[in-house]
């Protein structure tokens, strides 16, 4: 009898807890997080004020490599000024795709790096307005990526410069005396490296996938010398990938890769490249060059003992006798619009500290986003190069870039799919670069028409 009673009791308790959890679940669903308004903007807050603020912040980052080292130091340094603000970092390996799904829950943390998948007109539903574009641009540059309607929603963590990371010693050993300035010069330099040294002239890092997006970053300002090419030429222009015939423009960038692969100037088997290992191999001179943004320099220098050999050159395209490079924003910091006002204020203070005081930008191979900041030491080769900053996209066209990109499925700056298809085609020997470009133009034009862009 007692035994039976126990069973019944258990059953009732189980049923009770289950219905309770079920009820709790549905309840949580009903309460939609309310947006809070902190009432101050990024330009108004000053470091050193609000030092008694208490907050626990959660910071989602793509920088998994320094979560336990550099970021820990930053937090303890920051806490000297704000002892009651605690920051917990969470590194996400597959950041670009994971963060998108997490954002939709609204309850992801306080600070994150805004993914490219958030369209500009959606920014206000996820992030707080950090201030007016007019005010903030007096102090900072490169704000246009995540601003909408004159309001800024994201502050870049640093600026990136686009070029090619290479091993100086290998280039010298191969007999390349001057830094190549055009695609042809670059190809002949790679050929010399192949003939005179054992190094792999150009390592694609094809297998890692995301590394291939570096090629997409060259096609706009670097390849054309126009700061607004991304919007005016590529998004709105007619057949942007067509051959211009003068070794400039997007075609010239991908053609350089096509030629390098088909002439055997890249690694033998792109499907088995190894990203982590490639850093040390470039450092040691087993790899001569790689196409990557300036953020990679520091990692290459630190990968092995020949850090001094690692150098950076502008992308080898010359437009009317001059080389250009784009200075563009890396991931932007965004603050959750559903966090409490205290957390939002604390988050803004920490972001301000990161930009003004931490030295994160230069340490990570970037340039500071502050107005009139100096170029770091390792970008010496860029003193004669025209620096082109991102220009704001005209009002009403803010979402076109993403829309056309998604609709056409080319994945520019997202998947590196175009550069990958170039490598694949060059190995197979078909389709030719011209046919590839025609396919892209066709998809691009169809997408433009669907979005409603007319030429």
């Amino acid at each position: 009898m007692r035994h039976g009673y126990g069973k019944q009791f258990l059953a009732v308790v189980l049923a009770g807890t289950l219905t309770a959890t079920l009820a709790a679940c549905t309840k949580k669903d009903e309460v939609k997080a309310e947006k809070t308004d902190v009432g101050v903007t990024f330009d108004q807050i000053k470091l050193g004020e609000h030092t008694d603020l208490k907050a626990n912040l959660k910071f989602l980052t793509h920088k998994t490599d320094i979560v336990d080292t550099t970021f820990k130091d930053y937090v303890s340094e920051f806490q000297k000024m704000y002892p009651n603000i605690n920051i917990e970092y969470e590194g996400i390996t597959n950041y670009a795709s994971d963060i998108t799904t997490r954002l939709t829950t609204g309850d992801w943390g306080d600070i994150c790096m805004i993914p490219t998948t958030v369209d500009k007109n959606e920014l206000k539903n996820y992030f707080i307005n950090l201030g007016a574009m007019d005010e903030l641009s007096k102090e900072y540059t490169m704000l246009s990526n995540y601003s909408y309607d004159g309001k800024v929603y994201g502050i870049p963590s640093m600026g990136n410069i686009q070029g090619i990371v290479y091993n100086k010693a290998v280039f010298e050993k191969a007999g390349v005396k001057e830094i190549p300035k055009t695609p042809d010069e670059f190809l002949s330099a790679l050929q010399k490296i192949k003939d005179n040294t054992d190094a792999i002239p150009l390592y694609t890092n094809f297998a890692a996938g995301w590394t291939m997006t570096a090629w997409d970053a060259y096609i706009d300002a670097c390849a054309t010398g126009q700061a607004d090419f991304a919007q005016e030429g590529r998004v709105k222009g007619k057949n942007p990938f067509a051959d211009r015939g003068d070794q400039t423009g997007p075609y010239a960038v991908y053609n350089l890769l096509y030629e390098a692969v088909s002439k055997g100037l890249t690694e033998e088997d792109p499907t088995t490249t190894d990203w982590e290992g490639s850093k040390a191999r470039l450092n040691k001179g087993e790899i001569a060059s790689m196409a990557l943004g300036s953020w990679s320099i520091v990692q290459m220098k630190e990968a092995a003992e020949n850090g001094d050999d690692v150098a950076y050159m502008p992308f080898p395209i010359t437009v009317n006798g001059k080389q250009y490079t784009s200075v563009s924003a890396d991931y932007n910091y965004g603050v959750n619009c559903n966090s409490s006002a205290d957390n939002q204020l604390a988050a803004m203070l920490y972001i301000k500290w990161l930009i003004d005081k931490s030295g994160f930008d230069v340490n990570q191979g970037g340039v500071s986003i502050k107005v009139n900041s100096e170029m770091p030491e390792f970008l010496k080769a860029f003193d004669k190069v025209g620096l082109l900053y991102d220009v704001p996209v005209p009002k009403g066209e803010e979402t076109w870039g993403n829309d056309v990109n998604n609709e056409s499925e080319l994945g520019i700056n997202v998947s590196g799919g175009m550069a990958k298809s170039v490598v694949e085609a060059a190995i197979e020997g078909q389709p030719s670069m011209k046919e590839l470009a025609d396919q892209w133009n066709e998809k691009w034009t169809a997408a433009q028409e669907k979005i409603g862009i007319t030429h």
Binding site: A11, A15, L18, T100, V118, Y126, T271, T272, E424, E428
Partner: protein, 348 residues
């Protein structure tokens, strides 16, 4: 009038209930007694214990599935407004070249699955009998199944790298490195290379299932067969195979549905490049790179219907050729009927 009738009905119900219940005597209604009574209590227990698995099933399988079904009718991204487009996504799935092109790759995996089943069956029938170090062999062959799919992908990425494991081993056997293909780059063999990894991974698991089934066969049958002078193959053909056909068909269904929805190996090893993008890899790319969530959901639903269809087809085949459970196969039944009829005709 109406009210009275209902009362009457209620009354008769309670009377019937009480009449059925042996434990409670005719006493005023007591909730605790009622809930403790055998029948109610048993049902309560049943419901309570089923609630947990059902809840998990509902929350993690059916609700997401229904949501996906709903998404498949929308033009939507993960973030931003959704627009109802009806069946447009479905018509796009059928009109796009890459979707069904990718399904052709499943052919490689289906062939691999049959090879895998054959090897597993062979090992199982050998290892079910006393073999020296049999446990060790079983352990070694089952081990790959325990490794997570992503890790398997990374293992094979290095395994197939030029001049690494596979090439080195082949060179020991006298192959020349220059005459060997690039296992993942060469489009004529890279799908075979990748399909081979899933054979490596799942063969052991299939084998263990087969061994379990073979173990359940009555051993006196083998003895009787041995007395009759049956060879090893005859034993397999007439004793083992008919006894485990259900498990074989089950494994086949699992292998074929698995082949239609391959994702991990090509995603991890080649990221779907160089012509190795299976249906799921393409779907993943559309959803996460091009943000076409509606289209990708429609692709998933189409594949779901295809898999359902393939499974039904296989079930029908099993029913016709092998028979389900103790039931004779339809084919044999028909044949017997035909023979009977013929016999009757002859007698006449």
């Amino acid at each position: 009038m109406d009210c009275g009738a209902r009362k009457d009905w209620n009354h008769s119900l309670t009377v019937r209930k009480r009449g059925n219940d042996m434990n409670t005597k005719r006493a005023p209604f007591n909730f605790i007694k009622w809930i403790q009574s055998g029948k109610v209590n048993r049902r309560l227990c049943m419901v309570t214990f089923m609630l947990a698995p059902l809840l998990l099933l509902l929350v993690f399988t059916y609700i997401p599935f229904l949501k996906m079904f709903q998404f498949s009718f929308y033009d939507m991204k993960y973030i931003g407004a959704r627009k109802f487009v009806g069946l447009k996504n479905y018509s796009e799935v059928f009109s796009r070249k890459d979707c069904f092109q990718a399904l052709k790759l499943s052919g490689y995996y289906i062939v691999a699955a049959f090879i895998q089943l054959a090897i597993a069956l062979w090992f199982a029938s050998v290892l079910s009998f006393k073999v020296k170090g049999g446990g060790l062999y079983k352990g070694f062959m089952f081990f790959p199944y325990l490794v997570c799919g992503i890790a398997v992908g990374f293992i094979f990425k290095f395994f197939y790298t030029r001049g690494f494991v596979l090439d080195t081993v082949l060179q020991w056997f006298g192959f020349n490195l220059d005459s060997l293909p690039y296992w993942l780059k060469d489009k004529s063999i890279n799908n075979i290379s990748i399909a081979a990894t899933s054979v490596w991974r799942y063969m052991g698991q299939n084998m263990v299932l087969f061994i379990g089934a073979i173990m359940s066969v009555d051993s006196s049958l083998y003895e009787a067969a041995a007395i009759d002078g049956a060879s090893g193959f005859n034993k397999f053909r007439y004793i083992i195979f008919p006894s485990i056909k259900t498990i074989i068909v089950l494994n086949m269904i699992l292998a074929i549905t698995g082949s239609l929805s391959v994702f991990e190996p090509p995603y991890v090893i080649t990221n779907g490049e160089f012509g190795t993008g299976t249906y799921f890899v393409i779907m993943n790319k559309l959803a996460h790179v091009s943000q076409k969530v509606g289209l990708a959901s429609a692709m998933a639903i189409v594949l779901f219907v295809l898999i359902l269809f393939a499974t039904l087809l296989q079930k029908a085949g099993e029913w016709y050729f092998l028979g389900i459970g103790d039931q004779e196969a339809i084919r044999t039944v028909r044949r017997q009927k035909k023979q009977n009829r013929q016999r009757e005709a002859d007698n006449r």
